[in-house]
Subunit: 198 residues, 2 copies
């Protein structure tokens, strides 16, 4: 095989990226080595820097470079509400709405038995401790409405209700600007079931 | 924005990979930092190792860790034939056929005015020198049958024919096992035009 070892190693190493198969990895490797050596070098440094500096917020489990993240340190926020999400990207999505003033807890994953991710592989124990601090009165479950996200929400709800905590789930329904004609039947059914009194 | 700087840097750095947009880059970064720190570290090292050791074969321009690649050093091969290809992956594809005994020349790209890649951005000058070594008698153009690959083949053919070299182009036609019913009209038209006497 006329591929130099260091190039083959790079192709193999790129396979750790989610969604990258052998052909993409080869294309990426050739691109980096041939067309963007500066970008490749930056990427190597960014990886090492991130691995060296990032840790988890001791309160909410999101990524941070300090012990506690800025949101958890913010005294202006409502420390009685805890919103449980799967990933830090979800935190960013909710922050962008500017409609939530409480704190977060990031599970860093979801229950997914098919992928071998069980209750001990996401931060459920840590969530239980966090939610039992005496300050939190409501836990809002904002995991995704996928099969795995729903299963996770169900599991977390059972776990927290057993401790006497108030648990809620973000609403399902039509999107803003949504038309009944274009929405899928499952969503429409949920919008009917979860109708609100006016 | 509640994203630590080192994580944001990693997300930005991943954008250098071809085909990776902001959402994919974020997903990759979280995956690496949360689920595969070993893979992330391996990737950083593989990048630095590849950048440090890979160079271009002085004869055929493919990637190699030595001055000259194994194929160019192989005395058993036909040094009178030179097959011109776009990328090292194409070299691998042709080698896998075990039907070509000559040498290669890798352009490391194709002419693509829309992407700002002109004659001086691929190894055309080096190809001209290589093909004029006195040993090469036939140059086989095996660039892709895309618009850019065809333009490149046309340009290279003009350039080499002006030096009195024999230039050929790999054949277009139906694939092995191909059925007329399922092949696109352009390919079928070419298969008719390029028909061979029996």
């Amino acid at each position: 095989m006329p591929i130099p070892a260091s190039l083959q190693n790079l192709i193999d190493a790129l396979r750790v990226l989610p969604g990258v198969g052998p052909k993409s990895a080869a294309r990426m490797a050739f691109h980096l080595v041939q067309r963007d050596q500066v970008g490749a070098s930056d990427l190597a440094h960014a990886l090492e820097n991130a691995l060296g500096t990032l840790k988890h917020c001791r309160h909410c489990n999101t990524f941070t470079e300090a012990d506690t993240c800025d949101i958890c340190l913010d005294e202006q926020r409502n420390h009685a509400q805890l919103c449980v999400i799967e990933m830090p990207t979800d935190l960013m999505s909710i922050e962008q709405t500017r409609s939530y003033e409480g704190l977060y807890f990031v599970l860093m994953g979801r229950l997914s038995p098919l992928d071998g991710i069980g209750p001990h592989d996401i931060a459920l124990k840590q969530l239980l401790e966090r939610a039992s601090d005496g300050q939190v009165t409501e836990v809002i479950l904002a995991t995704n409405f996928t099969t795995e996200g729903e299963a996770t929400a169900h599991y977390v709800a059972e776990m927290l209700r057993a401790r006497g905590l108030k648990v809620s789930r973000i609403a399902r329904g039509l999107p803003v600007g949504g038309e009944l004609e274009h929405v899928d039947p499952g969503t429409l059914a949920q919008a009917l079931i979860e109708r609100r009194g006016l």
